[in-house]
């Protein structure tokens, strides 16, 4: 068993270098396809992060009656915080609301008219952050039924539109990635098929001298794995090389996004190594299979 393994590995190595032109062409195709796949993956990850950044802005704002008891407020806050749909609850007092209004006016370059007011007309409010924007209605209805809530600000239409837009964009992104993935799959498998086709004579001779299927198949499968891993290594090298200048260029954009560079690089590494190895092995397996079934 071990000697068969070593035999297959050494044959794979020999096969790779003795057909260097074909092997390197297959490796180059593999590299380019893996780069294409991983670039789309990275773009997709940034895209998803942008979507969740936008979605984070969706919340339910409930204006409160004036002069409510502190205990009623605390109680409502606690019940809200206990809801599974709710991510965070923030209490905005009347004074805070006025301060924010003034800030907003001055940011817009308009005069502050509030000194002309007798008292503060703005209500205190609860700003509820949601886990998923689609839960907007549940939380809004819950708040609307509360006695101390004066009014739930109605942003339902906007939220609905945002949710359907983000859902559409997510599905579109997944579909696009699936299409790119299939293209990569077919191109890589066809390239490996061509490389195997170029060695049809070798396979023919093996069959005629009485080599068993395993002895014919495994060297090619290992060779496919070699092409895949080599392609993956080169792709990762290119990505690492490109990461530094690219992130410096994009830093302004990315810094506002809830993007986790560590988890993305881990995912991309797994993606590139996994698809390289998988495509190489599958490509070689199905290509040799055509010659074995008689």
């Amino acid at each position: 068993m071990l000697s068969f393994f070593l035999f297959s590995i050494s044959r794979a190595w020999q096969g790779f270098w003795r057909n260097a032109a074909m092997s390197l062409a297959a490796t180059a195709t593999m590299t380019l396809m893996l780069l294409l796949l991983s670039s789309f993956w990275i773009v997709q990850a940034g895209f998803l992060a942008s979507l969740s950044y936008v979605e984070d802005k969706v919340g339910v704002v409930a204006d409160l009656d004036d002069n409510i008891r502190q205990s009623a407020l605390t109680d409502l806050q606690a019940r809200l915080a206990a809801m599974p749909e709710v991510r965070a609850v923030e209490y905005v007092s009347k004074e805070e609301a006025l301060r924010r209004y003034r800030e907003q006016r001055s940011a817009q370059g308009q005069d502050d008219l509030t000194p002309f007011l007798n008292d503060n007309p703005l209500p205190a409010s609860l700003e509820v952050k949601l886990r998923r924007p689609a839960d907007y209605r549940t939380v809004a209805e819950f708040l609307g039924a509360e006695p101390i809530v004066a009014k739930v600000q109605n942003i339902e239409d906007t939220t609905d539109r945002l949710v359907s837009l983000t859902n559409f964009l997510r599905t579109f992104g997944v579909l696009l990635l699936a299409v790119i993935g299939s293209i990569v799959l077919f191109i890589v498998i066809n390239t490996i098929r061509l490389a195997v086709l170029g060695r049809a004579e070798e396979i023919e001779v093996m069959r005629l001298v009485g080599a068993s299927d395993a002895f014919i198949r495994w060297p090619f499968v290992f060779e496919g794995a070699l092409v895949g891993l080599l392609g993956a290594a080169i792709s990762l090298g290119v990505l690492v090389g490109a990461a530094e200048p690219l992130s410096r260029f994009m830093v302004g954009f990315f810094s506002i996004l809830p993007i986790n560079v560590g988890s993305i690089s881990r995912d991309v590494t797994i993606l590139v190594l996994g698809s390289g190895l998988g495509l190489g092995v599958i490509g070689a397996w199905v290509s040799v299979r055509t010659y074995l079934i008689r």
Partner: protein, 245 residues
């Protein structure tokens, strides 16, 4: 060279058939009968010429023997194994009992003479320490010891065919099947190849050779099986290429 010793040392029993075709018909999916009711018994140690025009069924017969194709009707038995009943995983073992030689040699251009021959043993799982002596033995048998480290394109046609014969022999086959082995060679070299096949036959290996070469067949007076339109029209010992008279 004493008769009765196969290269591998096993005794040859001339009454024991190494190859039996019993009422074999091969119909291709397009409906054409490539072989029709063929009966053929080849005893161990025999030397048989298979003659016939192109399309007479020689190639189909060869394919049946190496189980590249299965007979539509009838049985093909090689060294006691009914090829139609053989499980797929046993096919390689039966092929190791056959040495195959082709008109176009089928040598691998990226391997030397020695590597081409050793390849047949490597891919059937023979241990390294048994490969080298076996390769040296057949190299000596076909007279290519000097050329062992050369690549096929550095060799003459005759030398390439001798390499292919060495590769066919390295497994110690019970039968060598040669499909027009002299088809690409000039007459003098063809005779050299024939001498080699006769010598191998003398060592006890059964030889079945398909050929178009009337001179060789007529001169050697061996057993001749003639095919025409898929049928055996003649099977005689000591016959010529054409029907006598």
């Amino acid at each position: 060279m004493p008769r009765g010793n196969r290269a591998g040392g096993a005794m040859v029993d001339p009454r024991r058939p190494v190859l039996v075709l019993n009422d074999v018909t091969k119909t291709y999916p397009n409906g054409r009968d490539a072989l029709k009711d063929v009966d053929l018994v080849v005893p161990e140690g025999d030397f048989v010429f298979l003659v016939g025009a192109s399309g007479a069924g020689k190639s189909t017969l060869m394919k049946l023997l190496i189980r590249d194709e299965l007979a539509t009707q009838g049985t093909v038995t090689l060294d006691g194994d009914d090829l139609a009943r053989l499980p797929r995983r046993k096919v390689p073992h039966v092929r190791r009992k056959i040495g195959i030689v082709f008109q176009d040699f089928k040598l691998l251009p990226t391997k030397t003479v020695r590597e081409n021959i050793a390849f047949a043993l490597e891919v059937t799982g023979t241990s390294r320490r048994r490969i080298k002596p076996a390769v040296n033995r057949v190299l000596a048998l076909v007279g290519l010891t000097e050329q062992a480290e050369q690549y096929p394109k550095q060799l003459s046609g005759g030398e390439q065919q001798r390499t292919a014969i060495a590769r066919a022999l390295v497994h110690d086959p019970r039968i060598v099947i040669a499909d027009e082995p002299t088809g690409n060679l000039d007459p003098l070299i063809s005779w050299e190849i024939l001498q080699l096949l006769l010598r191998i036959n003398e060592l006890g290996v059964t030889v079945l050779m398909a050929t178009h070469d009337a001179d060789i067949v007529t001169a050697l007076r061996k057993r001749v099986v003639a095919l025409e339109e898929g049928r055996v029209i003649r099977d005689e010992v000591g016959g010529g290429y054409h029907r006598a008279g």
